[in-house]
Amino acid sequence: MNTKIKKILIANRGEIAVRIIRACRDLGIDAVAVYSDCDKTAYHVRLADEAYHIGPSPSTESYLVHDKIIAAAKRSGAEAIHPGYGFLAENAVFAQRCADEGIIFIGPTPETITLLGDKLQARAAALEADLPVVPGETLDGDDLKAALVKADRVGFPVLIKAAAGGGGKGMRVVHKPEDFEEALERASSEATSAFGDGRVYIEKYLDRPRHIEIQILCDRHGNAIHLNERECSIQRRHQKVIEESPSPVMTPELRHTMGEAAISIAKKTGYVGAGTVEFMVAQDLSFYFLEVNTRLQVEHPVTELVTGVDLVKEQIAVAEGKPLRYRQEDIKLDGHAIECRIYAEDPQQGFTPSTGTLKNYRIPAGPGVRVDSGVVIYNEIPIFYDPMIAKLVVWGSDRTEAISRTRRALQEYRVAGLKTTIGFHLAVLDNARFITGDLSTSFLPEEFPDNNYSFLTDDIRRCAAIAAALDKFSHERKIALSSRSPGKSEASGWATHHRRESLRWFGGSR
């Protein structure tokens, strides 16, 4: 039962591939990367010990193709595959295929993935484990009229969710019956294209709930522990963008109760490995089971920073058949951690993706700052994948210190060539309600109804205006100069001019 893993293939890309490679290096395990055409110089390829090309850029022709991943694993001699999150992470067919090929899939069993991956079965399992669930209805091939009746029974506003869903895909809030049809159609079509499964169901949409989840870790010997909660209420398009641990509203008693609930569904479903049990928490601190994510979460680092546990290493230890090295009482909760997801998106334009080349890219550093980045300078951000380029995760001795350090780190970031969500995060971290910890999943639309995430002061705007004017002035002077000295090529004149220039500009009357 106990296998020493010597080589792991990481069936993913971006920051999570980098994260897993780092864990492998820390364990002395060889890390094998796979890459599509547009990822041939991606950071995960550069950091890995080995790298295998697996096809064209679209993920359906590369990262999602079971045969290609398995072939690369066989060729490299990897004993195990880590799927990261997304792509094949919650794909029971792939997990089964690994088992059939004699490769360790780092995750729960195919049976557990199937059970919990289907939101409807998961709901049933939760009820069996005596967990409170949100009122809702399944749609078993109902036509529109029947579906509307069910929606009415649950009561608007309702949430339409993909049975096979995750990451906000195939999810729609519907406030009025007249918007129901289009939302149902869109959610189902999105679910089909994202998961190959168009089934959706309806849930009561709670008023201003918090999203709080419990990290669990289970071994193959029946041991299961939880590693405290993460508050993930700051969401846009039902996607988390800022996460923290502990939750500002958590009490030791509630943590214990929710932790026990999470462990009970894990035990009920034979869970193995790292996983997350998601809950909605109402304003009165009553909580409802949402779903179990049978994978490593994007936001796992906030848990790592407050517990000191390296979750990826523990995943690998569990996959090797080892019993958990921690008992519940070993899990500490030290200080406070906040994660900001840095997306290549334009927040002011409703978070539309922003592709292009990272003409500048310098990550922040210093006390309390951890950056899990999937990119480096000059990388292109391709259109084919999720636009998250990095995660900034910051630790402080308390929430106040964590917030101020996060703000500092965001301002240290240097990115050029793309729009990012850095300014968005600064605006949220400056928001009074955020600072007091008064969060809910409708926080963003309530506090920033016009998508106006500017945090600029007049002072900063004025300096930016001066920078823009100086740049224009320099360009015009350069053109004037180069037209006067035609013997010199423009390019070299430009470079010389700019590299040596260090001018002092004085106020007019001083």
Partner: protein, 170 residues
């Protein structure tokens, strides 16, 4: 001497730059400002404004009158024009920036999943026109006002780059 109007976030700054025997002079909205700039390369510099220190990266966006200033972790779009041209424009009562769009351009690169209108269709504000998939999300592009579709320039399954024309209105 050059004088510019710079517009950021709806705020306008009147900036005057001139050579002087001992360097340059800068005034903002008529008030003199002490400015030092140390170049770091073609686009980046350390900018000191009245001893306040910033690392700035100024990029031109193809359009001569639009620049992006990257500083303090964020990108700040700035519209810039010659002061006298700006004054002329204002006298003529013109808005700055492009005129109201008769053309619908792709707001992001992506794949056309659906085209919901045809030439000649009357559309009303909020009506879905086109569905684009970008980075695994479906985005419904809706009409920003009432109009009549003149031409449709994309079809289902096509890839578009950001800024590609998708529709034209009459």
């Amino acid at each position: 001497m050059s004088r510019y109007l710079v517009k950021i976030d709806g705020n306008e700054y009147d900036i005057d730059l001139a050579y002087r025997a001992d360097g340059y002079s800068v005034t903002v909205d008529g008030a003199p400002v002490r400015v030092t700039s140390h170049r770091l390369g073609e686009t980046r510099s350390v900018l000191l404004v009245e001893d306040r220190s910033f690392e700035v990266d100024v990029r031109s966006n193809g359009l001569a009158d639009t620049k992006t200033v990257f500083m303090l972790g964020v990108e700040i779009p700035a519209e810039i024009e010659e002061y006298h041209l700006g004054q002329l424009r204002k006298t003529a009562g013109m808005k700055s920036g492009p005129s109201v769009q008769k053309k619908l351009k792709a707001p992001m690169p992506g794949l056309i999943l659906e085209v919901k209108v045809a030439p000649g269709d009357k559309v009303s504000k909020g009506q879905p026109l086109i569905v684009i998939e970008a980075m695994k999300m479906e985005n419904v592009i809706k009409a920003s006002g009432d109009a009549v579709v003149k031409s449709v320039d994309v079809s289902k399954g096509a890839s578009v780059e950001k800024g590609d024309q998708m529709l034209e209105f009459e």
